[in-house]
């Protein structure tokens, strides 16, 4: 990858990282209300995969969605204020940090682990049938790969040859449950064989690798060769949520070892080796930080949704067909 492209990916990862830090800080100040799931350490997955999608492509995310959303290009304003429960959020502030939709940007996330995979089959089916120039990407974790939903979805997508890229973001843990103990195969990608698919694993902390694999697979999917399942090996550097009892499931040493493989550090080193100026990178970072500081100030001013907003769209009135005479 040429230096310019790599620097672009670096910048995107930096945005995801700083955005995550901002959320963390807002969470500490109780401006994010539900559990917050930090993304630090996994930026090369979001940027490598989700960052490659067009606006019209569908992205189905998880309970840890903000990295994916930002990488896809959902406006940071609407992601942040959704997490803060404000009207300007993607879901008008009704969904919060782990369940929101941005219809315009074709972004969907939810907090039931595994459920996005069956839903992805429907997007894939509609895309294929309506011959749309779009693809569907579905993110999920190592923990999600143990759900029945995963299996039913992969099988259906495979027999119908749907244009879906299933990306397993194996960050080694599902809450406190280590993949090495709770996932019965050595590599989650080994499950691909059960669906007649190729076994593809990628270093999820190497943004050049994730982008390369994503580019290749999306191209193949656009040619009608989908679906694919790819496992990206990465690591969640923070707790499952802010303040989880990490000591119950992993050691300081393990975390430190992975910290050394931080995708940002790694890309930064490559860029510096390629002759990029450190101060230039520093400036990039300052620039992002400044923007996010402004964003935060703006976000804190945004209004909360009203009771009416939270009720209005639950059921579309049946009036077209005569309606119901409720009392």
């Amino acid at each position: 990858m040429n230096t310019e492209s790599l620097q672009k990916l670096y910048t995107e990862m930096l945005l995801v990282r700083r955005f995550d830090e901002l959320c963390l800080s807002l969470k500490t100040r109780d401006q994010i209300y539900s559990g917050y799931h930090p993304y630090e350490g996994q930026e090369a997955v979001a940027v490598g995969f989700c960052g490659l999608l067009n606006k019209q492509d569908i992205l189905l995310s998880t309970h840890r969605p903000h990295g994916h959303a930002v990488a896809k290009g959902v406006p940071v304003e609407s992601v942040l204020t959704e997490m803060m429960g404000r009207q300007t959020g993607c879901s008008g502030g009704l969904g919060g940090g782990m369940q929101y939709l941005d219809i315009e940007h074709n972004f969907y996330c939810g907090s039931i682990v595994g459920s996005n995979l069956p839903i992805a089959t429907g997007f894939g089916m509609a895309i294929k049938q309506q011959k749309l120039d779009r693809v569907c990407m579905c993110m999920f974790g190592d923990g999600a790969s143990n759900t029945g939903a995963f299996h039913e979805a992969l099988n259906l997508a495979a027999i119908w040859k749907l244009p879906i890229l299933f990306v397993c973001e194996n960050n080694q843990y599902a809450e406190a449950m280590p993949a090495r103990e709770f996932v019965s195969c050595e590599r989650i990608s080994m499950r691909a064989r059960g669906y007649g698919l190729e076994e593809i694993t990628v270093d999820g902390n190497d943004v050049e690798a994730t982008r390369r694999v994503a580019t290749d697979l999306l191209a193949r999917i656009r040619k009608g060769e989908g679906p694919f399942l790819v496992e990206a090996l990465t690591y969640r550097l923070r707790g499952h949520y802010v303040g989880d009892p990490e000591a119950t499931y992993r050691t300081r040493e393990e975390v430190d070892a992975w910290r050394a493989k931080d995708p940002l550090l790694r890309t930064r080193t490559t860029l510096l080796n390629d002759g990029v100026d450190a101060s230039g990178l520093e400036a990039l970072d300052q620039n992002i930080k400044a923007k996010l500081t402004a964003l935060e100030a703006w976000a804190l001013e945004q209004p909360f949704p009203t009771l009416e907003q939270s009720i209005d769209h639950v059921t579309i009135p049946l009036t077209q067909q005569g309606g119901c005479a409720c009392l």
Partner: protein
């Protein structure tokens, strides 16, 4: 008018809606090759092809999930869960996603899905294939719940359900597929959320759903001989409920029996009974009576099934008790 079966009425509804709109598609286990278990989609695969009629693997969660995803991109799926007992496997998508996404989209996303299934006893299938689980869905904001009892109703309501932009849980009854009734030859729709007085009467209102409507009508005909005039009201849509029609009837008769196939405790009979009490308290001569299946798993075989589930005889008994009273 033609006299056709409930199953054929469903088939006609599918056909007409699929012809009208290419986005309407039917998916489920053996809806294609077999034309569904009770042949209610017979011939449609041949006529419309595999894009509109899709056989799926035994993957109820994926069927429901697929419906949500494709509806979000403008299709109008009818997702069939072969027996309502298997809907237990599709609940997550239905309850946590289909019912929630339109709200989360602030009205930008519509999910015009029909989750179509079939419940109840009557075909001697025993407890894992005979349940009446409709009230689960009545308690989930975001879902419409429909339970048609006649060929006329099933056709008109299914067409409306397919055209409606909300996710609709559409519950047929396995004992009704071969029941016959008159259906207009020209196109018609029945609005969702409208109850119907199936038989007018003056002494007592029987509110019954699905298969129970047929028994209520039989009982009413018999009771007429005994001088008891029953009004039989079929809500048809359990949510949103046409309270007005129900309440009007009871305001007239002053007595009400609610008949459901689901067991009493926690079932829809409690909802109906409460609504009537809330709105007709001063005109009610006695408390609303509920007549429901005995609280047990539906046992195998024809004899026990009939003893567990309300029928015309037991409804007559319940009405007599209510009218003549102890």
């Amino acid at each position: 008018m033609s006299v056709i079966t409930y199953g054929e009425a469903i088939r006609q509804a599918y056909r007409e809606e699929m012809l009208r709109d290419k986005n309407v598609c039917l998916m489920g286990e053996d809806v294609g090759r077999w034309g569904s278990l009770y042949r209610s989609s017979k011939g449609l695969l041949e006529e419309f092809g595999p894009e509109q009629v899709k056989d799926t693997p035994i993957s109820e969660a994926a069927i429901a999930g697929c419906a949500v995803g494709c509806a979000a991109l403008g299709m109008r799926p009818i997702a069939e869960i072969m027996y309502i007992d298997f809907i237990t496997i599709a609940m997550d998508v239905m309850v946590n996603h289909a019912a929630k996404w339109p709200q989360l989209s602030n009205g930008k996303l519509k999910l015009p899905i029909v989750f179509k299934t079939q419940g109840g006893a009557g075909r001697r299938n025993s407890s894992q294939h005979s349940q009446s689980l409709e009230n689960w869905f009545v308690n989930v904001p975001g879902l419409i719940v429909v339970m048609p009892a006649t060929p006329y109703d099933v056709k008109g309501l299914l067409k409306s359900a397919i055209r409606d932009d909300n996710p609709v849980v559409f519950i047929e009854h396995k004992a009704l597929y071969f029941e016959k009734g008159e259906v207009p030859d020209e196109e018609y729709l029945i609005p969702l959320g409208k109850a119907e007085v199936k038989r007018a009467g003056t002494d007592v209102t029987i509110i019954a759903t699905s298969w129970m409507v047929l028994f209520a009508l039989k009982a009413a005909a018999q009771l007429q001989q005994e001088g008891i005039s029953c009004e039989v009201v079929d809500p048809r849509t359990l949510w949103p409920l046409d309270k007005q029609t129900l309440v009007q009837s009871v305001k007239k008769t002053g007595l009400c029996l609610v008949v459901t196939e689901a067991p009493e405790e926690g079932g829809w009979s409690g909802e109906a009974s409460s609504v009537i009490h809330e709105h007709c308290f001063s005109t009610l001569k006695k408390p609303v009576k509920r007549h429901c299946s005995i609280r047990t798993g539906i046992p195998y075989g024809p004899v026990l099934e009939r003893q567990i589930v309300p029928g015309d005889e037991s409804i007559m008994k319940a009405v007599r008790e209510l009218v003549k009273g102890v």
